[in-house]
Subunit: 733 residues, 2 copies
């Protein structure tokens, strides 16, 4: 075992956000961070001085919001969407609904060009019936719809089309980052005049970029969904939503392509707007597919023009993300050269790193150099370090090619500790890339499939339990609260894939090549699987899989759907059930805690499942309860046929919980002995090993020096001592 | 204001449990407790010496378990019920189910006399299908049912008839109170031979009771439901269940009377067994009605025989409670003279006290003189005092006639502090009865209707939230945990009635004579209303009621049923919604706490709603949030039309929470000024006033001396000082 010092002479693999007027400081940073590419940002520009430095230049554009003069001259070409008015309760036979009550007047304008009686829908939300257009009138001047012959004390909503007259990202930057430029509007490339104009505009844009090596598209055509209320606060958020791609033209083409027409209700979805927690309806999946096909066509056309000029095309996975779908095979048809993903944690790292295709992969680290964090009293270093600890352990499992930041350089320059900290990140990343990446890390070989209603299309998409809703630190964004087993999983030495419930149903079985089926999510959501668990084929397929020796790890509300006397449909496998009120007369089996078990061997104190009350009780006769709060089961295991199962009430990310998840997976997969290779006894330490390069590394994710025994690939153990937050490399020779 | 000392010379209104061999001690107690009636108990007998004392004697009998020799000679006359076997998961095409696996072999014997293919039902619990009897065989010797052509990895259950060969109360007494007499069996009076025998036996029994003045029937025909597992631990409990009244004869007569036959599934109900948390199905209501009609007929026959002998008939509301239904008008046909109710709190007091009819009302106080509490280290005084504090405040609202205890006198005699404490209870009760009862107490006049799926038939029945399931202190019984607004309500100066959702649906409106509609319960249960809230007529009726000036107070999960984009169907009235996972993308409105409000004016610290996380978020624009934990709403109010609404996340009983409920009711009813009459500013003090008697009283329910201003009927205020746990009486003159 030879300690390999981090090689601080390595250069490159880093993109630096530059800014005109800060050339001198930038050159200092170049010495520290050693970038090999320079980029502009939304709201910054590069000076000739910078362009002439000789670095490869990334030029950023978001074409649909690039030409504001044209957007303002063509208001009928803006992006459109369906909104559902805030419900109004009738108190008599006439109901007046001011459509934009409760919505931002700065962001939306009612689209009255598309005939309301044809494109809108008025729904009685008390009985679910649609109200005939003959029973309502819309007054354009007041923006008010009047329903006649309403049923008193029923609730009514109107689903109506609006123009989005203020781009969501622009609005965010105005509100959070105090931008004062005129609000930006985005146009819809599905409309022929816009398509034609954008292509022409893009050619002119490319003409003006002789020094640019990489054209970075801020994703492509349609913004993810943020709706704003009358105070311009967020009212609805879905980072993966497809709601802002609506136009009469698209709706008509959809009907031709799919053979049926979509109703407004298919978009507003009772006010849930098909957010990604919803078990996706067929109509919404069809709409996603329709939009995705178009976005691929649009992106392909842009990339073709970039390539013609001998430049590379990069795409940023943010903002106008809708329809891109990097995990869809069709994404490859766009021809992107560089995928750039914003990256705040291990899940985001894996989202990019695991995505299929030959693209160069680059992460954009947080925090952005924006005034929300880079302000008096702000602590960008703490946020960055918290993120990097998670990202680094995920990098042990799957590498990427480049890192970088975004925002205004001048803001970062005021935080010298942050500048040094980023220099460390750059050095650690380059060392890892140099020493390890491109080769397969040693792992346990256990193949884990994450099962949910989305499957591969939503690989490594973070989802939260309802705790998140109530954890509001800043009104404009969110911090992660509650369970997050996926983050734990992102850094474990197992092979992870994502499997949709539909795939299981279509095959009538769990596909081959899976050792452990893992589900995490809240009852009733796409992540847990919702009503799909009432389908006998699903529970049967999982039971057959486990009985034959497979493993099932259920976190949160596994297989939850009230049906035939039980909430957890796989309660027979898990050995626990959830109490929701109907089985209050059914007594739980008396609980005896199993004190010593392989799974909980590294736990110092109590298991943190994100709360005391799981409402889950012991129901099986063979179940072993490994952790509980009173009679609320927190962690339990059970065997079924040749297979093993585990239930965990929740698993917020922590080093200790990651260890519990690893041990759970290994125990369930009957691979307990895997802990005797490339593994640190101390759960705060992650071990990576790359046998082809004869190198291994240990990373310490906590704020104190950690010692541990580390098992090498031979099964021998050595003692290591890793300083706070540090990573150390060792030679196997 | 003149202080009236408690008159300790008052006598009577108390029933004493006597026991042969303890005559001397009993006479000492007579001097202390001053009873005017003596009773025996299950497992005790009265000596001639006691009988000759000249006190009225209560003789207790439970006829269906009285003649054990006959029961043992006629095993085909025992009580029967349907059990659902523990589900078995098929692992191939044949499934073997040992029917009594997981059930007590001491308690149940499979009834094979009733042809299994006719009376049993095998159900595939994965798809809900019934398996044809041609696909299964039952082996009597092994008690095993074999399903052929099963679907692998589906779960199967068998619903089958059993004889109950050990009465549940007898079993309880053996296990908890160490009884060693042979297990008692109960017979089914629906069967003609049993009916005939019991009537004959009853005559002979009455012949032997020349000294008895009151024959106390331990309810009537059918035990409430307790199922026991293989360890003889409770497996299922429903104090109000009708499951043990099944016989082929009853099923046949039911079909004739109601025009359709019941399936076994109508009894086992997916394993929920129609417990009282279930929204009752029509078939179960019909079965309850059928059994009730029979029990009334049976009870009438017994009472007739008692009356013929010039004795009084008392009925105890316990054990064989099924079918009695004291709130049903038909109950009066039985002709009972004395209703005796076990009473542990204010809810139980009101259950008895508010019940209709001319009966004398007597409560049986807890703890019973049984070895589970009266043991070395036991503290019967603490339990009794805790109960009495609740009962006494409920007695301020509705009086009864008598109190008493049950059990073995010899056990109580070992606890002299308890003996003195009961003497105080007796004196306080007699003073209250003497000074006040029989006249109407002063109150606010506010009429509160508790709305649930049961209505009046389940008046003052305690129900719990799921916390109760996880609060297991003793395996044989339960202590109350979690929300319990009904207990708060039981002592408030308001007029309480119970209203079923069916009554609202039938009338198409909230009936007249109600000021405040109050609902309390967990989503999906009969108490909250479950799926009934999807019926537009229900939400519409409540909205119309509130809009016209009515009040709606929702505790727990008011109007909860996922439908048309929301969980709380009356979210528009309450101004809050519950997050269950599907609206994770919908942001809560930002919360501003209303610091000063009439409702929370007496709160010293935080409102205790039984937990931090309500999962309820602010959704209304006009809602005022009065209490919250982070962004979890705990208490909110809103106005709708002329009416007012309140949401409370939960309300465990406490003096402070009772005050919050009173203030909530008064604010919602716009009767805030009612607090200026007969009211103590200090929430630990309850004030009763009986204007016809010109007397008022103040009770202190806590362990320290309390001072307070008390508003009299004139609106004047006086200062009082009440010692710990004490009640003081005052003259209005």
């Amino acid at each position: 075992m030879k300690h390999l010092e981090i090689d601080r002479t390595l250069q490159g693999s880093v993109t630096l956000p530059a800014e005109a007027g800060k050339e001198k400081e930038m050159l200092e940073l170049v010495g520290l961070w050693k970038p090999d590419a320079i980029r502009d940002s939304d709201g910054t520009r590069l000076s000739d001085e910078i362009l002439k430095l000789g670095y490869p230049i990334y030029s950023t554009t978001c074409l649909v919001r690039a030409d504001q003069a044209w957007a303002r001259a063509h208001p009928d070409q803006l992006a459109r969407k369906y909104l559902m008015s805030d419900p109004v309760t009738a108190t008599g036979s006439t109901v007046e609904i001011r459509l934009l009550d409760g919505f931002s007047a700065d962001k939306y304008a009612i689209d009255t060009d598309s005939t309301p009686t044809q494109f809108w829908e008025v729904i009685d939300r008390t009985n679910g019936d649609t109200v005939s257009p003959s029973s309502w009138d819309f007054d354009v001047d007041s923006g008010t719809l009047v329903i006649r012959n309403a049923t008193a004390f029923h609730r009514y909503t109107v689903s109506f089309l609006v123009w989005v007259i203020w781009d969501s990202t622009s609005m965010y930057n105005h509100i959070t980052n105090s931008w004062t430029i005129p609000p930006i509007q985005g146009v819809d490339p599905y409309l022929k005049p816009t398509w034609d104009h954008l292509m022409e505009y893009f050619e002119a844009y490319l003409d003006k970029l002789p020094d640019t090596e990489v054209v970075r598209l801020t994703t492509l055509a349609y913004h993810f969904v943020i709706d704003s209320d009358e105070m311009n606060h967020d009212k609805y958020r879905d980072w993966h939503g497809y709601g802002e791609a609506v136009s009469p033209e698209a709706l008509a083409d959809f009907a031709k392509q799919k053979g049926y027409a979509l109703r407004p209700e298919h978009f507003v979805d009772q006010g849930y707007y098909n957010n990604s927690y919803r078990v996706p309806a067929k109509e919404y999946r069809d709409w996603m597919d329709f939009v995705h096909r178009f976005v691929v066509e649009y992106g392909r056309e842009l990339v073709r023009r970039i390539h013609v000029r001998g430049k590379k095309a990069a795409v940023f996975w943010g903002d106008h993300w809708a329809g891109m779908e990097p995990y869809s095979p069709r994404f490859q048809e766009i021809g992107i050269d560089i995928n750039i993903g914003a990256c705040e944690d291990g899940v985001a790292l894996r989202r990019l790193a695991d995505s299929p295709g030959p693209q160069i992969k680059e992460i954009r680290l947080y925090p952005y150099f924006f005034p929300d964090v880079f302000k008096q009293g702000g602590d960008p270093t703490a946020e960055s370090r918290r993120n990097w600890m998670k990202i680094r352990r995920a990098l042990f499992r799957q590498g990427i090619d480049r890192i970088g930041h975004g925002g205004y350089l001048r803001l970062a320059l005021g935080f010298p500790e942050f500048i040094r900290h980023v220099a460390d990140i750059c050095d650690e990343f380059r060392m890892l890339k140099e020493q390890a990446h491109g080769t397969k890390p040693a792992g346990t070989g256990v193949r884990v499939a994450v099962l949910d209603a989305w499957g591969g299309l939503r690989s490594w998409i973070n989802h939260m339990n309802p705790d998140q809703k109530f954890h509001v630190i800043r009104p404009d964004t969110f911090e992660v609260a509650g369970s997050n087993a996926l983050e734990c999983l992102s850094g474990l030495p197992v092979d992870v894939s994502f499997l949709s419930i539909d795939e299981v149903l279509a095959a009538g079985r769990v596909p081959a090549g899976i050792d452990v089926l893992l589900t995490e999510g809240t009852e009733g959501t796409a992540w847990s699987g919702g009503y799909l668990w009432k389908n006998p084929s699903l529970s049967t397929a999982v039971r057959a899989f486990v009985h034959a020796g497979g493993a099932f790890v259920g976190i949160g509300d596994p297989s939850a759907a009230e049906h035939q006397g039980q909430c957890f449909q796989l309660g027979d496998l898990l050995g626990v059930q959830k109490e929701k009120g109907n089985s209050m007369s059914v007594l739980a089996r008396p609980m005896i805690l199993t004190e010593n078990h392989f799974i909980t061997a590294d736990l110092q104190g109590c298991l943190d499942v994100g709360g005391d009350k799981s409402w889950t009780f012991l129901s099986g006769r063979t179940t072993q309860v490994l952790a509980a709060s009173g009679n609320h089961v927190h962690l339990a295991v059970n065997e079924f046929g040749s297979g093993r199962c585990a239930y965990i009430a929740g698993l917020p990310y922590s080093a200790e919980n990651s260890r519990v998840l690893l041990r759970t997976i290994l125990w369930c997969a009957r691979k307990e002995e895997a802990l005797e290779r490339w593994h640190a006894a101390n759960p705060t330490l992650d071990v990576g090993a790359w046998p082809e390069r004869r190198v291994w590394a240990v990373a310490n994710s906590v704020s104190t020096l950690q010692k541990s025994r580390v098992f090498l690939g031979t099964g021998e153990a050595v003692e290591v001592e890793i300083p706070a937050y540090a990573v150390q490399f060792f030679s196997m020779d």
